[in-house]
Protein backbone atom coordinates (compact mmCIF):
# COMPACT_ATOMS: atom_id res chain seq x y z
CA UNK A 1 0.00 0.00 0.00
CA UNK A 2 1.38 3.40 -0.81
CA UNK A 3 1.82 5.99 1.92
CA UNK A 4 -0.96 8.09 0.49
CA UNK A 5 -3.46 5.25 0.44
CA UNK A 6 -2.45 4.22 3.92
CA UNK A 7 -3.08 7.71 5.26
CA UNK A 8 -6.41 7.87 3.50
CA UNK A 9 -7.48 4.70 5.28
CA UNK A 10 -5.78 5.57 8.53
CA UNK A 11 -5.55 9.36 8.85
CA UNK A 12 -4.72 9.33 12.54
CA UNK A 13 -1.73 7.01 12.07
CA UNK A 14 0.63 9.63 13.46
CA UNK A 15 -0.83 9.16 16.93
CA UNK A 16 0.80 5.78 17.45
CA UNK A 17 4.48 6.79 17.10
CA UNK A 18 3.78 10.08 18.90
CA UNK A 19 2.29 8.36 21.94
CA UNK A 20 5.01 5.70 21.84
CA UNK A 21 7.74 8.35 21.97
CA UNK A 22 5.94 10.18 24.77
CA UNK A 23 5.76 7.03 26.87
CA UNK A 24 9.40 6.10 26.28
CA UNK A 25 10.55 9.61 27.23
CA UNK A 26 8.43 9.70 30.37
CA UNK A 27 9.45 6.19 31.38
CA UNK A 28 13.18 6.86 31.16
CA UNK A 29 13.34 10.54 32.13
CA UNK A 30 10.17 11.30 34.01
CA UNK A 31 10.29 9.59 37.37
CA UNK A 32 7.62 7.38 38.94
CA UNK A 33 5.16 10.16 39.80
CA UNK A 34 4.94 11.39 36.23
CA UNK A 35 4.80 7.84 34.89
CA UNK A 36 1.86 7.07 37.19
CA UNK A 37 0.07 10.19 36.02
CA UNK A 38 0.63 9.30 32.37
CA UNK A 39 -0.60 5.74 32.94
CA UNK A 40 -3.77 7.12 34.48
CA UNK A 41 -4.16 9.44 31.50
CA UNK A 42 -3.76 6.46 29.13
CA UNK A 43 -6.51 4.58 30.97
CA UNK A 44 -8.79 7.57 30.57
CA UNK A 45 -7.68 7.83 26.95
CA UNK A 46 -9.13 4.39 26.20
CA UNK A 47 -12.46 5.65 27.56
CA UNK A 48 -12.30 8.95 25.68
CA UNK A 49 -11.48 7.16 22.41
CA UNK A 50 -14.46 4.90 23.12
CA UNK A 51 -16.62 7.95 23.66
CA UNK A 52 -15.35 9.37 20.37
CA UNK A 53 -16.51 6.26 18.51
CA UNK A 54 -20.10 7.03 19.44
CA UNK A 55 -20.24 10.76 20.26
CA UNK A 56 -17.73 11.95 17.70
CA UNK A 57 -19.13 10.02 14.78
CA UNK A 58 -22.82 10.33 15.56
CA UNK A 59 -22.81 13.85 17.02
CA UNK A 60 -24.97 12.64 19.90
CA UNK A 61 -23.73 13.39 23.40
CA UNK A 62 -23.78 10.55 25.87
CA UNK A 63 -24.10 10.99 29.63
CA UNK A 64 -24.33 7.28 30.16
CA UNK A 65 -21.15 5.62 28.95
CA UNK A 66 -19.78 5.38 32.46
CA UNK A 67 -22.38 2.63 32.89
CA UNK A 68 -20.27 0.45 30.63
CA UNK A 69 -17.08 1.25 32.53
CA UNK A 70 -18.87 0.11 35.68
CA UNK A 71 -20.13 -3.09 34.07
CA UNK A 72 -16.68 -3.78 32.63
CA UNK A 73 -14.78 -3.05 35.83
CA UNK A 74 -17.00 -5.25 37.99
CA UNK A 75 -17.25 -8.09 35.50
CA UNK A 76 -13.49 -8.08 35.29
CA UNK A 77 -13.18 -8.06 39.08
CA UNK A 78 -15.50 -11.07 39.26
CA UNK A 79 -12.88 -13.06 37.36
CA UNK A 80 -9.63 -11.67 38.75
CA UNK A 81 -10.27 -10.17 42.14
CA UNK A 82 -8.29 -10.56 45.25
CA UNK A 83 -7.17 -14.19 45.53
CA UNK A 84 -9.01 -15.90 48.39
CA UNK A 85 -10.99 -12.84 49.34
CA UNK A 86 -13.41 -12.95 46.42
CA UNK A 87 -16.02 -14.95 48.31
CA UNK A 88 -15.82 -12.47 51.17
CA UNK A 89 -16.41 -9.38 49.05
CA UNK A 90 -18.86 -10.97 46.64
CA UNK A 91 -20.49 -14.01 48.23
CA UNK A 92 -23.34 -13.93 45.72
CA UNK A 93 -21.24 -14.99 42.76
CA UNK A 94 -21.98 -18.46 41.33
CA UNK A 95 -19.54 -21.21 42.31
CA UNK A 96 -17.78 -21.51 38.98
CA UNK A 97 -17.14 -17.77 38.95
CA UNK A 98 -15.74 -17.92 42.47
CA UNK A 99 -13.29 -20.61 41.41
CA UNK A 100 -12.16 -19.16 38.10
CA UNK A 101 -8.80 -17.39 38.03
CA UNK A 102 -8.47 -15.46 34.83
CA UNK A 103 -5.44 -13.41 33.78
CA UNK A 104 -6.27 -9.71 33.42
CA UNK A 105 -6.27 -9.43 29.63
CA UNK A 106 -8.82 -12.13 28.77
CA UNK A 107 -10.84 -11.08 31.83
CA UNK A 108 -11.00 -7.51 30.54
CA UNK A 109 -12.02 -8.68 27.08
CA UNK A 110 -14.74 -10.96 28.43
CA UNK A 111 -16.01 -8.20 30.70
CA UNK A 112 -16.10 -5.80 27.77
CA UNK A 113 -18.04 -8.38 25.75
CA UNK A 114 -20.63 -8.50 28.51
CA UNK A 115 -20.92 -4.70 28.43
CA UNK A 116 -21.19 -4.77 24.63
CA UNK A 117 -23.94 -7.39 24.78
CA UNK A 118 -25.82 -5.23 27.25
CA UNK A 119 -25.26 -2.19 25.03
CA UNK A 120 -26.65 -4.09 22.04
CA UNK A 121 -29.77 -4.91 24.01
CA UNK A 122 -30.41 -1.40 25.30
CA UNK A 123 -29.01 0.22 22.15
CA UNK A 124 -31.81 -1.10 19.97
CA UNK A 125 -34.02 1.34 21.86
CA UNK A 126 -31.54 4.15 22.59
CA UNK A 127 -30.33 4.48 19.01
CA UNK A 128 -33.80 5.52 17.88
CA UNK A 129 -33.85 8.54 20.19
CA UNK A 130 -33.04 12.03 18.99
CA UNK A 131 -30.29 14.48 19.87
CA UNK A 132 -31.87 15.58 23.15
CA UNK A 133 -33.69 12.44 24.20
CA UNK A 134 -30.72 10.11 23.72
CA UNK A 135 -28.41 11.83 26.26
CA UNK A 136 -31.21 11.79 28.84
CA UNK A 137 -32.04 8.18 28.06
CA UNK A 138 -28.37 7.30 28.57
CA UNK A 139 -28.17 9.34 31.77
CA UNK A 140 -31.24 7.51 33.04
CA UNK A 141 -29.52 4.25 32.16
CA UNK A 142 -26.56 5.26 34.32
CA UNK A 143 -28.92 6.06 37.22
CA UNK A 144 -30.65 2.71 36.88
CA UNK A 145 -27.53 0.56 36.66
CA UNK A 146 -25.70 2.50 39.37
CA UNK A 147 -28.64 2.13 41.74
CA UNK A 148 -28.82 -1.58 40.98
CA UNK A 149 -25.09 -2.09 41.55
CA UNK A 150 -25.26 -0.11 44.78
CA UNK A 151 -27.98 -2.36 46.12
CA UNK A 152 -26.83 -5.67 44.66
CA UNK A 153 -24.44 -6.07 47.57
CA UNK A 154 -23.76 -9.78 47.18
CA UNK A 155 -21.87 -9.35 43.90
CA UNK A 156 -20.67 -5.72 43.99
CA UNK A 157 -19.99 -5.13 47.69
CA UNK A 158 -22.64 -2.41 47.41
CA UNK A 159 -21.63 0.89 48.94
CA UNK A 160 -18.28 -0.34 50.22
CA UNK A 161 -15.17 -0.93 48.14
CA UNK A 162 -13.57 -4.03 46.73
CA UNK A 163 -9.86 -3.92 47.44
CA UNK A 164 -6.96 -6.00 46.24
CA UNK A 165 -7.57 -6.28 42.50
CA UNK A 166 -4.37 -7.41 40.78
CA UNK A 167 -2.41 -4.29 39.81
CA UNK A 168 -1.64 -5.36 36.27
CA UNK A 169 -1.84 -2.08 34.41
CA UNK A 170 1.51 -0.38 33.95
CA UNK A 171 2.39 2.24 31.36
CA UNK A 172 3.10 -0.33 28.62
CA UNK A 173 -0.09 -2.38 28.97
CA UNK A 174 -2.10 0.83 29.07
CA UNK A 175 -0.29 2.05 25.96
CA UNK A 176 -0.99 -1.18 24.09
CA UNK A 177 -4.68 -0.90 24.93
CA UNK A 178 -4.67 2.69 23.70
CA UNK A 179 -3.09 1.55 20.42
CA UNK A 180 -5.73 -1.14 20.05
CA UNK A 181 -8.47 1.37 20.75
CA UNK A 182 -7.04 3.80 18.20
CA UNK A 183 -6.88 1.11 15.52
CA UNK A 184 -10.43 -0.07 16.20
CA UNK A 185 -11.80 3.48 16.33
CA UNK A 186 -10.04 4.42 13.12
CA UNK A 187 -11.12 1.31 11.23
CA UNK A 188 -14.69 1.99 12.31
CA UNK A 189 -14.61 5.67 11.39
CA UNK A 190 -13.38 4.90 7.85
CA UNK A 191 -15.62 1.87 7.34
CA UNK A 192 -18.76 2.24 5.23
CA UNK A 193 -20.86 2.11 8.39
CA UNK A 194 -18.73 4.79 10.05
CA UNK A 195 -18.92 7.03 7.01
CA UNK A 196 -22.70 6.66 6.84
CA UNK A 197 -22.91 7.55 10.52
CA UNK A 198 -20.75 10.63 10.00
CA UNK A 199 -22.98 11.63 7.12
CA UNK A 200 -25.97 11.46 9.47
CA UNK A 201 -24.07 13.63 11.95
CA UNK A 202 -23.58 16.35 9.34
CA UNK A 203 -27.12 16.32 8.02
CA UNK A 204 -29.65 13.87 9.34
CA UNK A 205 -32.30 14.55 6.76
CA UNK A 206 -29.93 14.37 3.79
CA UNK A 207 -28.37 11.15 5.06
CA UNK A 208 -31.78 9.60 5.53
CA UNK A 209 -32.78 10.69 2.05
CA UNK A 210 -29.65 9.01 0.67
CA UNK A 211 -30.71 5.70 2.13
CA UNK A 212 -28.83 5.66 5.43
CA UNK A 213 -30.65 3.75 8.15
CA UNK A 214 -29.48 6.00 10.93
CA UNK A 215 -30.49 3.91 13.93
CA UNK A 216 -28.59 0.91 12.58
CA UNK A 217 -25.33 2.83 12.13
CA UNK A 218 -25.78 4.42 15.55
CA UNK A 219 -26.33 1.03 17.10
CA UNK A 220 -23.12 -0.37 15.59
CA UNK A 221 -21.10 2.59 16.88
CA UNK A 222 -22.84 2.39 20.24
CA UNK A 223 -22.00 -1.27 20.80
CA UNK A 224 -18.40 -0.82 19.69
CA UNK A 225 -18.04 2.23 21.86
CA UNK A 226 -19.54 0.45 24.87
CA UNK A 227 -17.05 -2.38 24.36
CA UNK A 228 -14.08 -0.01 24.35
CA UNK A 229 -15.41 2.02 27.27
CA UNK A 230 -15.80 -1.17 29.27
CA UNK A 231 -12.18 -2.06 28.48
CA UNK A 232 -11.27 1.35 29.90
CA UNK A 233 -13.34 0.58 33.00
CA UNK A 234 -11.60 -2.76 33.44
CA UNK A 235 -8.20 -1.10 33.14
CA UNK A 236 -9.30 1.54 35.64
CA UNK A 237 -9.96 -1.18 38.22
CA UNK A 238 -6.66 -2.91 37.59
CA UNK A 239 -4.82 0.40 37.68
CA UNK A 240 -6.25 1.54 41.03
CA UNK A 241 -6.55 -1.90 42.60
CA UNK A 242 -9.84 -0.92 44.25
CA UNK A 243 -13.38 -0.54 43.00
CA UNK A 244 -16.33 1.38 44.38
CA UNK A 245 -19.64 2.02 42.65
CA UNK A 246 -19.38 5.71 43.53
CA UNK A 247 -16.32 6.04 41.25
CA UNK A 248 -18.51 5.45 38.21
CA UNK A 249 -20.67 8.49 38.54
CA UNK A 250 -21.06 12.01 37.31
CA UNK A 251 -17.46 13.09 37.94
CA UNK A 252 -16.17 10.45 35.56
CA UNK A 253 -18.92 11.30 33.10
CA UNK A 254 -18.00 14.99 33.01
CA UNK A 255 -14.27 14.37 33.04
CA UNK A 256 -14.32 12.05 30.03
CA UNK A 257 -16.74 14.29 28.13
CA UNK A 258 -14.66 17.37 28.91
CA UNK A 259 -11.53 15.60 27.65
CA UNK A 260 -13.26 14.76 24.39
CA UNK A 261 -14.71 18.23 23.85
CA UNK A 262 -11.52 20.08 24.80
CA UNK A 263 -9.53 18.10 22.27
CA UNK A 264 -12.19 18.26 19.59
CA UNK A 265 -14.94 15.71 19.47
CA UNK A 266 -14.87 15.37 15.72
CA UNK A 267 -11.44 13.79 15.52
CA UNK A 268 -9.59 10.86 17.01
CA UNK A 269 -6.54 13.05 17.47
CA UNK A 270 -8.82 15.39 19.41
CA UNK A 271 -9.75 12.60 21.81
CA UNK A 272 -6.08 11.81 22.42
CA UNK A 273 -4.93 15.43 22.71
CA UNK A 274 -7.87 16.38 24.93
CA UNK A 275 -7.12 13.57 27.36
CA UNK A 276 -3.45 14.53 27.56
CA UNK A 277 -4.14 18.25 27.96
CA UNK A 278 -6.83 17.90 30.63
CA UNK A 279 -4.75 15.33 32.53
CA UNK A 280 -1.68 17.55 32.32
CA UNK A 281 -3.60 20.58 33.58
CA UNK A 282 -5.00 18.56 36.48
CA UNK A 283 -1.57 17.23 37.44
CA UNK A 284 0.02 20.65 37.17
CA UNK A 285 -2.62 22.25 39.36
CA UNK A 286 -2.26 19.43 41.86
CA UNK A 287 1.49 20.07 41.92
CA UNK A 288 0.95 23.80 42.47
CA UNK A 289 -1.30 23.01 45.38
CA UNK A 290 1.42 20.86 46.95
CA UNK A 291 3.80 23.73 46.28
CA UNK A 292 6.64 23.74 43.77
CA UNK A 293 10.00 25.32 43.86
CA UNK A 294 11.11 27.25 40.78
CA UNK A 295 14.61 28.73 41.10
CA UNK A 296 14.33 29.22 44.83
CA UNK A 297 10.90 30.75 44.47
CA UNK A 298 8.34 28.67 46.32
CA UNK A 299 5.02 28.78 44.53
CA UNK A 300 2.23 27.42 46.64
CA UNK A 301 -1.38 27.73 45.59
CA UNK A 302 -3.98 27.81 48.38
CA UNK A 303 -5.76 24.53 48.91
CA UNK A 304 -8.99 24.15 46.94
CA UNK A 305 -7.92 26.48 44.13
CA UNK A 306 -7.11 23.53 41.86
CA UNK A 307 -10.74 22.91 40.93
CA UNK A 308 -11.42 26.60 40.39
CA UNK A 309 -8.56 26.96 37.94
CA UNK A 310 -9.46 23.73 36.13
CA UNK A 311 -12.97 25.09 35.51
CA UNK A 312 -11.63 28.46 34.36
CA UNK A 313 -9.10 26.86 32.01
CA UNK A 314 -11.79 24.61 30.55
CA UNK A 315 -14.04 27.61 29.92
CA UNK A 316 -11.25 29.64 28.33
CA UNK A 317 -10.35 26.76 26.00
CA UNK A 318 -14.00 26.33 25.03
CA UNK A 319 -14.44 30.04 24.40
CA UNK A 320 -11.31 30.43 22.29
CA UNK A 321 -11.34 27.02 20.60
CA UNK A 322 -15.01 26.04 20.46
CA UNK A 323 -14.25 23.22 18.02
CA UNK A 324 -11.70 21.83 20.45
CA UNK A 325 -7.94 22.21 20.36
CA UNK A 326 -7.45 20.28 17.13
CA UNK A 327 -10.84 20.78 15.46
CA UNK A 328 -11.41 17.99 12.97
CA UNK A 329 -7.79 17.56 11.93
CA UNK A 330 -5.95 14.28 12.41
CA UNK A 331 -2.29 13.81 13.24
CA UNK A 332 -0.67 12.26 10.19
CA UNK A 333 -3.01 13.53 7.52
CA UNK A 334 -1.78 16.64 5.73
CA UNK A 335 -4.14 19.57 6.22
CA UNK A 336 -6.35 19.92 3.16
CA UNK A 337 -6.47 23.54 2.13
Amino acid sequence: MTRKRFLAAFPAAGLIPALGVLCVVVHYLGGPLLEGALTEALVYMVMVIALYVFVGNSGIISFGHVTFAMIGAYASAWQTCCAGMRGVFMPGLPDWLLRVNMPTTPATLLAALLAAAFAALIGVAISRLGAFAAPIGLLSLLFVIKTIYENWTSVTAGQSSIVGLPLDVDIWTALLWVFAAIVVAQLHARSPSGLRLRASREDEAAARASGVTIWKERLIAFVLSAFLFAVGGGLFGHFLGTLAVSEFWLDMTFLTLAMLVVGGMRSLTGAVVGTLVVSAVRELLRAFERGIDIGGLDIHAPEGTQEIWLAVILLVILIFRPQGLVGDRELGRPVVK
Binding site: G130, V312, L315, Q323
Partner: protein
Protein backbone atom coordinates in the same frame (compact mmCIF):
# COMPACT_ATOMS: atom_id res chain seq x y z
CA UNK B 1 -49.31 7.08 55.03
CA UNK B 2 -52.53 8.93 54.60
CA UNK B 3 -53.46 9.26 50.90
CA UNK B 4 -54.07 12.99 51.19
CA UNK B 5 -50.68 13.55 52.80
CA UNK B 6 -49.16 11.51 50.02
CA UNK B 7 -50.91 13.60 47.39
CA UNK B 8 -49.73 16.83 49.02
CA UNK B 9 -46.18 15.45 49.15
CA UNK B 10 -46.29 14.45 45.51
CA UNK B 11 -47.74 17.82 44.50
CA UNK B 12 -45.08 19.66 46.47
CA UNK B 13 -42.15 17.72 45.07
CA UNK B 14 -43.69 17.90 41.60
CA UNK B 15 -44.06 21.68 41.93
CA UNK B 16 -40.44 22.12 42.94
CA UNK B 17 -39.20 20.07 39.97
CA UNK B 18 -41.62 21.90 37.69
CA UNK B 19 -40.10 25.24 38.74
CA UNK B 20 -36.61 23.93 38.02
CA UNK B 21 -37.66 22.55 34.66
CA UNK B 22 -39.30 25.86 33.78
CA UNK B 23 -36.07 27.72 34.59
CA UNK B 24 -34.08 25.36 32.39
CA UNK B 25 -36.74 25.45 29.68
CA UNK B 26 -36.74 29.28 29.48
CA UNK B 27 -33.04 29.39 28.70
CA UNK B 28 -33.26 26.40 26.40
CA UNK B 29 -35.97 28.12 24.37
CA UNK B 30 -33.90 31.13 23.37
CA UNK B 31 -30.45 29.56 23.31
CA UNK B 32 -30.96 25.87 22.52
CA UNK B 33 -28.66 25.21 25.45
CA UNK B 34 -29.44 22.93 28.36
CA UNK B 35 -28.01 24.97 31.21
CA UNK B 36 -26.56 22.50 33.61
CA UNK B 37 -25.37 25.31 35.86
CA UNK B 38 -29.00 25.96 36.82
CA UNK B 39 -28.59 23.58 39.75
CA UNK B 40 -25.58 25.51 40.98
CA UNK B 41 -27.56 28.75 40.79
CA UNK B 42 -30.01 27.16 43.21
CA UNK B 43 -27.07 26.07 45.35
CA UNK B 44 -25.41 29.49 45.59
CA UNK B 45 -28.77 31.06 46.35
CA UNK B 46 -28.98 28.77 49.34
CA UNK B 47 -25.38 29.44 50.41
CA UNK B 48 -25.90 33.21 50.20
CA UNK B 49 -28.08 32.80 53.29
CA UNK B 50 -25.09 32.24 55.55
CA UNK B 51 -21.71 33.80 56.27
CA UNK B 52 -18.78 32.00 54.58
CA UNK B 53 -17.02 29.82 57.13
CA UNK B 54 -15.93 26.27 57.77
CA UNK B 55 -18.25 25.54 60.67
CA UNK B 56 -21.27 23.29 60.30
CA UNK B 57 -23.59 25.51 62.34
CA UNK B 58 -23.30 28.44 60.01
CA UNK B 59 -23.84 32.02 61.15
CA UNK B 60 -26.85 33.40 59.28
CA UNK B 61 -26.24 36.29 56.91
CA UNK B 62 -29.19 36.99 54.63
CA UNK B 63 -31.07 34.34 56.60
CA UNK B 64 -31.28 36.76 59.54
CA UNK B 65 -33.00 39.50 57.55
CA UNK B 66 -36.75 40.11 57.72
CA UNK B 67 -38.68 37.84 55.36
CA UNK B 68 -39.56 40.26 52.53
CA UNK B 69 -35.99 41.52 52.36
CA UNK B 70 -34.64 37.97 52.57
CA UNK B 71 -36.79 36.79 49.67
CA UNK B 72 -35.90 39.78 47.52
CA UNK B 73 -32.20 39.47 48.32
CA UNK B 74 -31.89 35.78 47.46
CA UNK B 75 -33.94 36.02 44.28
CA UNK B 76 -32.09 39.15 43.22
CA UNK B 77 -28.70 37.63 43.98
CA UNK B 78 -29.37 34.48 41.99
CA UNK B 79 -30.80 36.44 39.07
CA UNK B 80 -27.66 38.60 38.97
CA UNK B 81 -25.48 35.49 39.18
CA UNK B 82 -27.40 33.96 36.27
CA UNK B 83 -26.87 37.13 34.24
CA UNK B 84 -23.17 37.03 35.08
CA UNK B 85 -22.80 33.45 33.80
CA UNK B 86 -24.53 34.52 30.60
CA UNK B 87 -22.39 37.61 30.15
CA UNK B 88 -19.00 36.08 30.88
CA UNK B 89 -19.31 32.46 29.78
CA UNK B 90 -22.18 31.87 27.40
CA UNK B 91 -22.24 35.10 25.41
CA UNK B 92 -18.66 34.76 24.14
CA UNK B 93 -19.50 31.20 23.09
CA UNK B 94 -22.66 32.25 21.36
CA UNK B 95 -20.72 34.84 19.35
CA UNK B 96 -18.66 31.99 17.97
CA UNK B 97 -21.77 30.08 17.00
CA UNK B 98 -20.73 26.88 18.73
CA UNK B 99 -22.85 23.75 18.59
CA UNK B 100 -25.11 22.66 21.41
CA UNK B 101 -22.67 20.00 22.62
CA UNK B 102 -20.00 22.60 23.32
CA UNK B 103 -22.54 24.85 25.03
CA UNK B 104 -23.59 21.97 27.22
CA UNK B 105 -20.02 21.19 28.23
CA UNK B 106 -19.37 24.84 28.96
CA UNK B 107 -22.40 24.87 31.23
CA UNK B 108 -20.78 21.93 33.06
CA UNK B 109 -17.64 24.00 33.39
CA UNK B 110 -19.64 26.89 34.86
CA UNK B 111 -21.37 24.52 37.22
CA UNK B 112 -18.03 23.05 38.29
CA UNK B 113 -16.65 26.55 38.78
CA UNK B 114 -19.52 27.60 41.04
CA UNK B 115 -19.20 24.39 43.05
CA UNK B 116 -15.47 24.87 43.47
CA UNK B 117 -15.93 28.48 44.58
CA UNK B 118 -18.43 27.45 47.24
CA UNK B 119 -16.16 24.60 48.28
CA UNK B 120 -13.31 27.08 48.64
CA UNK B 121 -15.17 29.67 50.68
CA UNK B 122 -17.50 27.47 52.70
CA UNK B 123 -15.66 24.08 52.69
CA UNK B 124 -17.44 20.88 51.76
CA UNK B 125 -18.99 20.24 55.15
CA UNK B 126 -22.81 20.30 55.02
CA UNK B 127 -24.31 23.14 57.05
CA UNK B 128 -27.64 23.58 58.65
CA UNK B 129 -29.62 26.79 58.41
CA UNK B 130 -33.17 27.59 59.27
CA UNK B 131 -35.31 30.10 57.43
CA UNK B 132 -39.02 30.81 57.82
CA UNK B 133 -39.34 28.72 61.02
CA UNK B 134 -43.08 29.17 60.92
CA UNK B 135 -43.21 26.98 57.80
CA UNK B 136 -42.02 23.88 59.61
CA UNK B 137 -45.34 23.73 61.43
CA UNK B 138 -47.91 21.13 60.51
CA UNK B 139 -51.35 22.34 59.62
CA UNK B 140 -54.45 20.27 60.04
CA UNK B 141 -56.43 20.29 56.88
CA UNK B 142 -59.69 18.37 56.74
CA UNK B 143 -58.50 15.96 59.41
CA UNK B 144 -55.03 15.30 57.97
CA UNK B 145 -51.81 16.91 59.01
CA UNK B 146 -49.83 18.52 56.23
CA UNK B 147 -46.47 20.27 56.44
CA UNK B 148 -46.96 23.98 55.94
CA UNK B 149 -43.89 24.17 53.70
CA UNK B 150 -45.42 21.70 51.22
CA UNK B 151 -48.60 23.72 50.97
CA UNK B 152 -46.57 26.91 50.49
CA UNK B 153 -44.41 25.27 47.81
CA UNK B 154 -47.51 24.32 45.85
CA UNK B 155 -49.04 27.79 46.17
CA UNK B 156 -45.83 29.65 45.32
CA UNK B 157 -45.28 27.48 42.26
CA UNK B 158 -48.82 28.02 41.08
CA UNK B 159 -48.44 31.77 41.51
CA UNK B 160 -45.09 31.88 39.73
CA UNK B 161 -46.40 29.78 36.84
CA UNK B 162 -49.41 32.04 36.48
CA UNK B 163 -47.20 35.14 36.55
CA UNK B 164 -44.89 33.62 33.95
CA UNK B 165 -47.78 32.77 31.65
CA UNK B 166 -49.18 36.28 31.91
CA UNK B 167 -45.75 37.79 31.32
CA UNK B 168 -45.02 35.61 28.28
CA UNK B 169 -48.43 36.23 26.75
CA UNK B 170 -49.07 39.87 27.57
CA UNK B 171 -45.85 41.79 28.09
CA UNK B 172 -43.94 42.89 25.03
CA UNK B 173 -40.69 41.51 26.47
CA UNK B 174 -42.39 38.20 27.16
CA UNK B 175 -43.71 37.96 23.63
CA UNK B 176 -40.17 38.64 22.41
CA UNK B 177 -38.91 35.71 24.47
CA UNK B 178 -41.51 33.45 22.92
CA UNK B 179 -40.75 34.72 19.44
CA UNK B 180 -37.04 34.07 19.94
CA UNK B 181 -37.80 30.58 21.19
CA UNK B 182 -39.91 29.93 18.10
CA UNK B 183 -37.41 31.14 15.52
CA UNK B 184 -34.39 33.04 16.75
CA UNK B 185 -33.16 34.31 13.38
CA UNK B 186 -36.58 35.49 12.27
CA UNK B 187 -37.18 37.19 15.61
CA UNK B 188 -33.91 39.11 15.24
CA UNK B 189 -34.86 40.19 11.76
CA UNK B 190 -38.09 41.58 13.13
CA UNK B 191 -36.21 43.72 15.64
CA UNK B 192 -35.82 41.53 18.71
CA UNK B 193 -32.44 42.29 20.25
CA UNK B 194 -30.59 39.00 20.70
CA UNK B 195 -28.54 39.96 23.73
CA UNK B 196 -31.47 41.52 25.50
CA UNK B 197 -33.88 38.66 25.00
CA UNK B 198 -31.29 36.10 26.09
CA UNK B 199 -30.34 38.14 29.15
CA UNK B 200 -34.02 38.40 30.00
CA UNK B 201 -34.44 34.64 29.78
CA UNK B 202 -31.40 34.13 32.01
CA UNK B 203 -32.64 36.72 34.50
CA UNK B 204 -36.07 35.09 34.74
CA UNK B 205 -34.54 31.66 34.96
CA UNK B 206 -32.23 32.89 37.73
CA UNK B 207 -35.12 34.41 39.66
CA UNK B 208 -36.88 31.06 39.52
CA UNK B 209 -33.74 29.31 40.70
CA UNK B 210 -33.69 31.74 43.64
CA UNK B 211 -37.26 30.84 44.51
CA UNK B 212 -36.31 27.17 44.42
CA UNK B 213 -33.34 27.87 46.74
CA UNK B 214 -35.69 29.37 49.31
CA UNK B 215 -38.33 26.66 49.07
CA UNK B 216 -35.76 23.89 49.16
CA UNK B 217 -33.86 25.24 52.16
CA UNK B 218 -37.10 26.02 54.00
CA UNK B 219 -37.98 22.36 53.64
CA UNK B 220 -34.65 20.63 54.24
CA UNK B 221 -32.69 23.17 56.29
CA UNK B 222 -29.40 21.78 54.95
CA UNK B 223 -26.76 23.29 52.69
CA UNK B 224 -24.43 21.07 50.70
CA UNK B 225 -22.22 22.17 47.84
CA UNK B 226 -23.46 19.27 45.72
CA UNK B 227 -27.15 19.88 46.38
CA UNK B 228 -27.66 21.49 42.97
CA UNK B 229 -26.62 18.52 40.86
CA UNK B 230 -29.58 16.19 41.51
CA UNK B 231 -31.93 19.16 41.20
CA UNK B 232 -30.49 20.18 37.84
CA UNK B 233 -30.68 16.61 36.60
CA UNK B 234 -34.29 16.39 37.70
CA UNK B 235 -35.11 19.59 35.85
CA UNK B 236 -33.11 18.49 32.85
CA UNK B 237 -34.85 15.10 32.66
CA UNK B 238 -38.21 16.78 33.24
CA UNK B 239 -37.59 19.20 30.37
CA UNK B 240 -36.77 16.39 27.99
CA UNK B 241 -39.59 14.02 28.89
CA UNK B 242 -41.97 16.96 28.70
CA UNK B 243 -40.83 17.78 25.19
CA UNK B 244 -37.84 20.02 24.50
CA UNK B 245 -38.49 23.58 23.48
CA UNK B 246 -41.94 23.64 25.02
CA UNK B 247 -42.42 25.43 28.33
CA UNK B 248 -45.75 23.84 29.22
CA UNK B 249 -44.17 20.47 28.46
CA UNK B 250 -41.18 21.29 30.66
CA UNK B 251 -43.40 22.20 33.59
CA UNK B 252 -45.53 19.09 33.21
CA UNK B 253 -42.48 16.89 32.67
CA UNK B 254 -40.83 18.22 35.82
CA UNK B 255 -44.05 17.80 37.72
CA UNK B 256 -44.43 14.25 36.49
CA UNK B 257 -40.91 13.34 37.58
CA UNK B 258 -41.25 14.85 41.06
CA UNK B 259 -44.65 13.34 41.70
CA UNK B 260 -43.53 9.95 40.38
CA UNK B 261 -40.50 9.89 42.68
CA UNK B 262 -42.63 10.59 45.76
CA UNK B 263 -45.26 8.05 44.77
CA UNK B 264 -42.67 5.37 44.08
CA UNK B 265 -41.02 6.04 47.42
CA UNK B 266 -44.32 5.54 49.19
CA UNK B 267 -45.79 2.70 47.17
CA UNK B 268 -42.82 0.45 46.48
CA UNK B 269 -42.47 -2.51 48.83
CA UNK B 270 -40.10 -1.79 51.74
CA UNK B 271 -37.17 -3.89 50.49
CA UNK B 272 -37.15 -2.22 47.06
CA UNK B 273 -37.21 1.37 48.31
CA UNK B 274 -33.43 1.88 48.34
CA UNK B 275 -33.53 1.10 44.62
CA UNK B 276 -36.26 3.66 43.95
CA UNK B 277 -34.15 5.58 41.46
CA UNK B 278 -33.73 2.45 39.37
CA UNK B 279 -37.51 2.30 39.00
CA UNK B 280 -37.91 6.03 38.48
CA UNK B 281 -35.34 6.22 35.70
CA UNK B 282 -36.52 2.99 34.09
CA UNK B 283 -39.83 4.79 33.87
CA UNK B 284 -38.07 7.75 32.24
CA UNK B 285 -36.45 5.47 29.66
CA UNK B 286 -39.83 3.89 29.01
CA UNK B 287 -41.44 7.30 28.48
CA UNK B 288 -38.69 8.28 26.06
CA UNK B 289 -39.11 5.06 24.10
CA UNK B 290 -42.84 5.49 23.77
CA UNK B 291 -42.69 9.24 23.14
CA UNK B 292 -39.17 10.13 21.93
CA UNK B 293 -40.31 13.69 21.25
CA UNK B 294 -41.56 14.06 24.81
CA UNK B 295 -44.92 13.64 26.44
CA UNK B 296 -46.36 16.97 25.45
CA UNK B 297 -45.32 17.96 21.98
CA UNK B 298 -46.66 21.00 20.25
CA UNK B 299 -47.11 21.38 16.54
CA UNK B 300 -43.98 22.28 14.67
CA UNK B 301 -41.68 21.01 17.39
CA UNK B 302 -39.86 18.75 14.95
CA UNK B 303 -36.62 19.91 13.46
CA UNK B 304 -37.15 22.32 10.60
CA UNK B 305 -35.33 21.71 7.37
Amino acid sequence: MNPIQLIVDALSQGSLYALIALGIGLVFGVMRMINFAHGELIMIGAYALVVPSASDMARPFIAAWPAPLLIAAVIGFVAVAALATERFAFRPLRRREVDSATLLISSFAVSYLLQSLVLFFYTGRPKSVSIFPSLTRQITFGGVRVAMVDAVTILVTAALLAATVVFLRRARAGIEVRAAAEDFVMARMLGVKANRVIALAFGLSGAMAGAVSLLFVAKTGVLDFRMGVPLAIAGFVGTVIGGVGNLVGAVLGGFFLGAASVLLQALLPEELRPARDAFLYSLVILVLLVRPQGLFVTRGAGERI
